[in-house]
């Protein structure tokens, strides 16, 4: 039976590929909704982009608009990585699927209240929407199985020396999520930098004659232009979080306490772990540390194969 999930995202090139992966096998993951948040780009852009991706794939799920900015600080975006639209590169259809009329918060609350089995939340952007939900409605944690995120890093950072972008954008929201009492599976830079692709992988995607594979290849031809210091290939950050849900056996991890620095000179958004176990704090969370890269690429290709060659215009 399909496991129900809600995907919170800020597409974003790697978000789009994560959505392709998540929507490929409805018999495994049932995507109850896609909620959007400001992050890689501003909220209006990520909201349109989520609908552009679903339209291009011929998939329909409610797409609801969430937070325009972090809980307690101004927004930072990443136009240097994702371009002005947030999804520069591919050509998308003009006419898009209709958005949900509901706010992301209201839709999340309704879906969770109604859920007969526990829902898994997958967060691919800053944790603003999830932080707000868990701060406002702590009673709903019993409806949530766990939360899997792309964000953070045990070692190093990609938006400062010690912080990863998604966590650095809204560290207070991240702390609300890590402190909610739920298990958070953190797919951070430690694993996503191992889930990189090279030119020949893009060529392999390009050779698969489906809308999903072509979209992924178009996205990556733009996304590969951003080169980050000290990193091999093009890391596919967000798809790691979805891949963990589909095929956890591809990954290795350490269970540990995790919290987030929110008030500092150099470390806002830094993930604080206790890998040495000195603190005695509960090891509630999971820091994903490694991936079978080839298995991950194969999983993506298998997902691309499930899509049609063409999608009729709306």
């Amino acid at each position: 039976m399909a496991r129900p999930v809600i995907i919170d995202c800020d597409p974003g090139h790697d978000d789009a590929i994560a959505l392709i992966l998540a929507l490929a096998r409805p018999e495994v993951l049932e995507v109850l909704a896609v909620t959007t948040v400001a992050g890689n780009q501003t909220l209006d852009k990520t909201f349109v982009n989520a609908r552009r991706v679903l339209t291009a794939l011929g998939k329909c799920a409610p797409v609801a608009q969430g937070a325009a900015g972090p809980l307690l600080r101004p927004l930072m975006t990443a136009p240097n990585v994702h371009g002005e639209t947030g999804l520069d590169g591919p050509v998308f259809p003009e006419k898009l699927i209709e958005p949900s009329p509901r706010r992301a918060f209201d839709l999340q609350v309704e879906l969770l209240e109604r859920a007969r089995e526990k829902v898994t939340l997958i967060a691919l952007g800053p944790l603003t929407n999830l932080g707000r939900l868990l701060l406002a409605r702590p009673d709903l944690t019993e409806k949530i199985d766990h939360i899997t995120i792309m964000g953070g890093a045990v070692l190093g950072g990609n938006w400062s020396a010690a912080a990863e972008f998604n966590i650095m954008v809204d560290p207070e929201a991240a702390n609300a999520v890590f402190g909610s009492g739920l298990q958070v599976v953190m797919c951070g830079l430690d694993v996503t930098h191992q889930a990189y692709i090279e030119e020949r992988d893009i060529a392999r995607f390009r050779a698969i004659p489906t809308v999903a594979a072509q979209l992924a290849a178009d996205l990556l031809d733009f996304f590969k232009l951003y080169h980050q210091a000290g990193v091999v290939g093009v890391p596919l950050h967000d798809p790691c979080a979805v891949a963990y849900e589909l095929a956890p056996a591809l990954f290795t991890w350490v269970d540990t306490h995790i919290e987030v620095e929110t008030h500092s000179e150099f470390c806002d958004g830094t993930i604080i772990t206790d890998l040495r176990g000195f603190s005695g704090l509960p090891r509630r969370h999971r820091a994903v540390m490694g991936v079978d890269r080839q298995g991950f690429i194969d999983l993506l290709c298998d997902a691309f194969e499930t899509y049609p060659k063409e999608v009729p215009a709306l």
């Binding site: 070692l155 950072g157 020396a161 210091a229 500092s264 150099f266 206790d274 040495r276 000195f278």
Partner: protein, 311 residues
């Protein structure tokens, strides 16, 4: 014939692992140990100074002058670690009272005087809180350029031991650490990480005990204590003898592979004060200011211990 030995000043807060590092450096024919400065850290200054004096006598090296450094960190009160090092700092090790006393004089002035006597030649090895060094650099801004290098035990790339994010030596005096890391001095830092990958096990310790010298017996006793703390309360698989690993680098640098990084000292963090913020991926593009060991030869380290502790 010119003296090929490395000129070293040791700044230390003995301390179980400091004591082993001291015995290593005092016993090495490759090291010319010009002076030892004590600092408050693992235990209070009265004890670290006392222990330093006792250890020079154990090593038969009362020729090395011992100085009393800072009792308190630059801007905060001293926190000590008797839970790790025992009430007087050397765990179970009892040594005869020293016959010699500390030399008079301010430690910062001593560093400066020796550095001017031997410009570009001195390796300053600091294996406790960086208070003495920070104070000396504040008093003499030209001192960093007069030193060959500074090698410290302190900090961590991932995680801490005094807090989730801060290693003890930096945690005790983060402001002094900031002064040292921002000074422009050629700096090598031995963080928790490499020390945890260069651990000694019980058979290693018993092997050292069998050497039979007084110094080896003392080191084995200290190591058994450290092993008990490490594998007991800390849940480790062996004992990471932080300062001894650092001393091994000073004596035999080829046991380690280093990489250069930019490292900042976090002073304000609510949860990260005292963290050494290592720019692992080079994201900030700030110039590198610190070398960090990324690989070590544990067997070579153990062999060096054997070599140094033989009579």
């Amino acid at each position: 014939m010119s003296d090929k030995r490395k000129k070293v000043i040791l700044d230390t807060d003995p301390g179980v692992d400091d004591a082993i590092a001291m015995l290593m450096l005092m016993g090495s024919p490759d090291i010319d140990l010009l002076a030892i400065a004590a600092v408050g850290g693992n235990v209070g200054l009265a004890s670290t100074l006392h222990n330093a004096l006792c250890l020079t006598e154990l090593a038969g090296r009362t020729d090395i002058p011992v100085y009393a450094g800072a009792e308190q960190p630059l801007l905060q009160r001293l926190e000590t670690a008797e839970d790790i090092h025992g009430r007087r700092g050397l765990g179970p090790l009892e040594l005869p009272a020293p016959t010699k006393r500390a030399e008079p004089g301010e430690v910062g002035e001593l560093f400066y005087r020796l550095a001017r006597q031997h410009p570009g030649e001195i390796t300053l090895v600091a294996i406790g809180p960086l208070t003495n060094l920070g104070r000396a650099f504040l008093a003499h801004p030209d001192l960093p350029a007069l030193l060959r290098e500074v090698v410290i035990m302190g900090g961590a790339v991932v995680g801490g031991n005094a807090t989730l994010q801060a290693e003890f030596n930096i945690y005790v005096d983060p402001e002094a650490a900031r002064v040292v890391f921002d000074s422009g001095v050629k700096l090598t830092m031995f963080p928790l990480d490499i020390c945890h990958r260069t651990m000694l096990g019980l058979p290693d310790i018993e092997g050292l005990a069998r050497i039979g010298s007084h110094r080896a017996a003392a080191v084995a006793e200290l190591l058994r204590h450290a092993y008990g703390v490490s594998t007991g309360r800390l849940g480790l698989q062996g004992t990471p003898v932080y300062d001894a690993v650092t001393a091994a680098f000073v004596i035999r640098p080829e046991l380690f592979a280093l990489r250069d990084f930019n490292v900042e000292i976090e002073l304000r963090g609510a949860r990260t004060r005292g963290r050494t913020v290592v720019d692992h991926y080079g994201f900030t593009r700030k110039p590198t200011n610190c070398a960090i060991p990324v690989e070590s030869d544990t067997q070579g380290y153990l062999a060096l211990l054997h070599e140094l502790l033989r009579d």
